[in-house]
């Protein structure tokens, strides 16, 4: 089987930002509000009134397909990882396929908490290896968070997409390691509008599982921390991942390029992967990236090596930094309106 | 003065029901008010009427009933005479006049009763929503959220861009309309004038149109009695002859317009009317345009040949369209003042001009009668999604001159 690489990548972050200060101002008598500040998130990305996980996924997909330089009709598969879908039964991938103008494609969704995106990427890569057409992998989330919740100052919206296929790519996927466990850390039953969670369980599991998954990958692939220029972890907040990095003895500088949480919040499925996209915007050929994405007791660790194709593909679309800098601050009331809470 | 013939059409009776909001009144109450006034002004009884033409744009839309013409005809006691409904959004009223004309000239009937009435069923925004989205493309336009006034706003912005029109110039049209309409007992804003400063200080509805410049949707009714030219003098001493009528349609979808600097098809409709009447724009002495949105007055002055393209916005400040000007435009209040019950608007325009030609303009307010030497008036109307329907109606105190 030919090697499969990432032919193109793209992301989309909505323009609107809500400062966490604004959330605190709205709920000044809650003691949690001072705790959130210590978790390091300064502002979060908010989807506009007429945006949702599908429109954001479409924008990211469009960027990825453009960067890859392929025709959407050449795609053999579209897999979307999303844990905040509005429909119990309706495929986001099918909608995005229609939006891109392709129909002869296997379109299905991958739903597994925050690691929906990375699982989709592993599945997409395997599908591209087994067949002869490229696969588009999208990770998008527009989380349902209740007002005044602990998750409110942490959750953001955004999307990222990758095209996996054979040929000279911007990065080659060297390998992956996955583990799974059944837990209740963040969960959402069908009839309930908002996520339930246990923050203590969630943080502890995140630490333990991420450390274990990252170590296991490096053991099985015979690599060390020194072999990688960049590390990305899924970012539930802007503090705990840095603690995990210390536990793994990852130097702070290696975490910097992919660490976006303090500026946009936790993007759930897109959290770690958008860090990968941000890294690819500035990485050089030959550098290696290790990404570990956690979700509901499981984790996917994916290793990448930046390839020859990185030159010249970067400027085809706006960079992650372009999206982060194109921002408009909104107040809390606008945030409630845009999220259709009121 | 030429003798009126079988193939002339005259307006002999004119009636209104004051425009306003009447939640307690039914559609039939509004119709009754307008029709009784028209009968009186025409010295004619309902038994003389051969056919009813009922114009409205919203009866079925608001979900009330179909066959509104038959309902009205029944309530007026006209059965078994024929009745038909004419609809083309805001030009329903004027198109009903055209249909009546065609029926008279062709010899089907001698006397026609044209009635237009509208009743708002839903409060404020829901009414606007239902009416304006009904005019948008049903599959793709509706969900682009183009508000009703939005269409005229697109014209306004383009006019501002191409010819430097200012918001003050458009606002002055609304101020003129309200000032003249303040004396009009049939106007919704009777005794409610407004100054230019107040218009400029009002909130935007759709940039650049402000609240007083935007069609105030109202209830209301108008009626007109038309008959064969050669029997008109059996009823009144001063019949008003309809000597020219031009209509046309334009694209319904905004994206099919070639240009946004002119109302599509108005020039052609105007030319047809002028040709039929045997007059030119210079001959017209008083003008009623459908200023549902202030920019429409600017565009109609240009497209009907009264002012050069790109100069319509100067009409008020140069004194061209004021009561003392060369071409008094809406001298007893235009839409901004009378209020705009969809299909009735254009019949109101024709009625207003007919009163001017009859010399009864003071019924619409003190000083409302303009000095006319030849008695030539023009009433313009447009309606529909992309302003897709245009009507131009030319009235005269004398029948059409025929050559040879």
């Amino acid at each position: 089987m030919d090697k499969v690489s990432i032919l193109g990548y793209g992301a989309y972050v909505p323009r609107y930002r809500l400062k966490i200060d604004e959330i605190e101002k709205a709920w000044t008598d809650k003691e949690y509000s001072t705790r959130s500040r210590r978790l390091g998130v300064e502002e979060k990305a908010v989807a506009g009134f007429d945006e949702d996980e599908v429109t954001m996924g479409y924008e990211a997909a469009r960027n990825a397909v453009k960067r890859a330089g392929i025709d959407p009709a050449d795609l053999g598969g579209i897999i979307t990882g999303c844990m905040s879908r509005r429909f119990r039964d309706k495929s986001v991938s099918a909608m995005i396929a229609q939006m891109l103008g392709t129909s002869e494609v296997l379109a299905c969704d991958c739903v597994h908490s925050s690691k929906s995106g990375s699982s989709a990427l592993i599945l997409g890569k395997s599908m591209a290896e087994a067949g002869d057409r490229s696969v588009l992998v999208i990770a998008t989330d527009n989380p349902h968070v209740a007002p005044c919740d602990d998750l409110e100052p942490l959750s953001g919206s955004g999307a990222v997409a990758f095209v996996c296929g054979k040929g000279k790519g911007v990065a080659h996927i060297e390998g992956s390691y996955s583990c799974s466990r059944e837990v209740y850390d963040i969960w959402q039953p069908v009839e309930v509008p908002y996520m339930y969670y246990d923050m203590n369980v969630s943080r502890q599991l995140y630490r333990d599982v991420t450390v274990q998954a990252t170590r296991a990958y490096m053991e099985r692939n015979g690599t060390k921390v020194d072999d990688y220029t960049y590390f990305v972890l899924s970012q539930q907040d802007a503090r705990v991942p840095l603690g995990v990095a210390r536990a793994l003895k990852i130097p702070k500088e290696k975490m910097a390029a992919g660490f976006l949480c303090s500026r946009i919040g936790d993007l759930y499925s897109a959290s770690a992967l958008i860090g990968v996209a941000a890294i690819l915007d500035t990485a050089k050929e030959g550098e290696r990236i290790l990404a570990s994405s956690y979700g509901s007791g499981g984790a996917d660790t994916i290793g990448l090596r930046v390839g020859k194709g990185i030159k010249g593909r970067k400027d085809a679309c706006p960079s992650i930094e372009d999206y982060l800098n194109d921002k408009v601050y909104i107040d809390y009331l606008s945030f409630l309106r845009y999220s259709h809470v009121i | 003065m030429p003798q009126a013939s079988r193939s002339d059409v005259a307006i002999i009776g004119i009636g209104y029901h004051k425009f306003g909001i009447y939640p307690e009144k039914s559609l039939q109450d509004l119709v009754f008010g307008a029709v009784t006034e028209a009968m009186e002004s025409g010295n004619i009884g309902l038994e003389e009427v051969d056919m009813l033409f009922f114009a409205d744009a919203t009866a079925q839309l608001m979900g009330r009933h179909s066959t509104p013409a038959q309902f009205v005809s029944d309530h007026l006691g006209l059965a078994p005479k024929p009745a038909i409904r004419v609809e083309s959004a805001c030009t329903s009223g004027s198109n009903a006049v055209r249909e009546a004309m065609a029926n008279i000239i062709s010899g089907f009937i001698d006397v026609a009763l044209v009635v237009s009435a509208e009743k708002i069923d839903f409060p404020g925004r829901e009414n606007v929503y239902r009416f304006s989205t009904a005019m948008s493309d049903e599959d793709y336009g509706v969900i682009s959220d183009f508000a009703g006034p939005g269409i005229s706003a697109l014209y306004a912005v383009r006019h501002m861009h191409e010819f430097g029109t200012t918001e003050e110039q458009m606002a002055s049209i609304a101020a003129k309309s309200r000032t003249y309409g303040a004396g009009n007992p049939y106007a919704r804003f009777y005794k409610s004038p407004i100054t230019l400063e107040e218009v400029m200080a009002s909130p935007y509805v759709v940039y650049p149109l402000k609240l007083p410049e935007v069609n105030p949707i109202s209830d209301g009714a108008c009626a007109a009695i038309l008959c064969r030219g050669d029997i008109a003098r059996n009823f009144v001493d001063n019949p008003v002859y309809v000597i020219g009528f031009g209509t046309g349609t334009g694209p319904v979808h905004l994206q099919d317009f070639k240009s946004f600097s002119e109302i599509p098809g108005l020039r052609e409709a105007g030319q047809k009317a002028y040709d039929m009447a045997g007059v030119t724009p210079q001959d017209i002495e008083v003008f009623s345009d459908m200023d549902a949105f202030s920019i429409i007055e600017v565009l109609s002055l240009e497209d009907l040949g009264f002012m050069e393209k790109g100069r319509g916005q100067y009409a008020v400040e140069e004194g061209f369209s004021t009561r003392e000007g060369r071409l008094p435009t809406n001298p007893t209040g235009g839409n901004c003042s009378t209020g705009g019950p969809a299909g009735v608007i254009t019949l109101r325009g024709i009625n207003d001009m007919a009163l001017q030609v009859r010399g009864e303009g003071n019924k619409l307010g003190e000083g409302g009668q303009m000095k006319l030497s030849r008695g030539l008036a023009l009433a313009q109307g447009e309606g529909g999604g992309g302003l897709t329907n245009q009507t131009v109606c030319i009235l005269s105190s004398e029948p059409r001159r025929r050559n040879g």
Binding site: G48, V54, M99 | -
Partner: protein, 139 residues
Amino acid sequence: MTEEYRFIEHCAGDINRTIPKRYRLQGSRCSKCGALFVTKRLICPECKGTDFEEVALSGRGKVYTYSAVKVPLLPVLKKGHYGIGIIELEEGVKAEGQIVDIDPDDLKVGMEVDATIRRAREEYPGKVIYMYRFKPVRR
């Protein structure tokens, strides 16, 4: 479920039929005279021909005219101000659409825009309708 839900404008069949045009700004070209239309046509207004071929449009263009809606339409009451406009596309035809991602007071004639897809409505029962919109080209 918000109160705007009560405006039922589309039945399921209509939604399915209009998907290709709503998602991808498509035009049709008359096979007889070559005229290009964005509006779906069955008969060519120029030559009365009845044969059309689908043309994919790029979605890029310039603002030909615009307006800022300050009083939103009822189903999108809570949206706040938004921009509407007529866009002159690269291919020479005009398209009508909402202009997003910009304060409508900042709109200008001649601004460059690109087509994107946004959520237009949610209708009873549970039908989400997406529609193309135009957003300014910034980068």
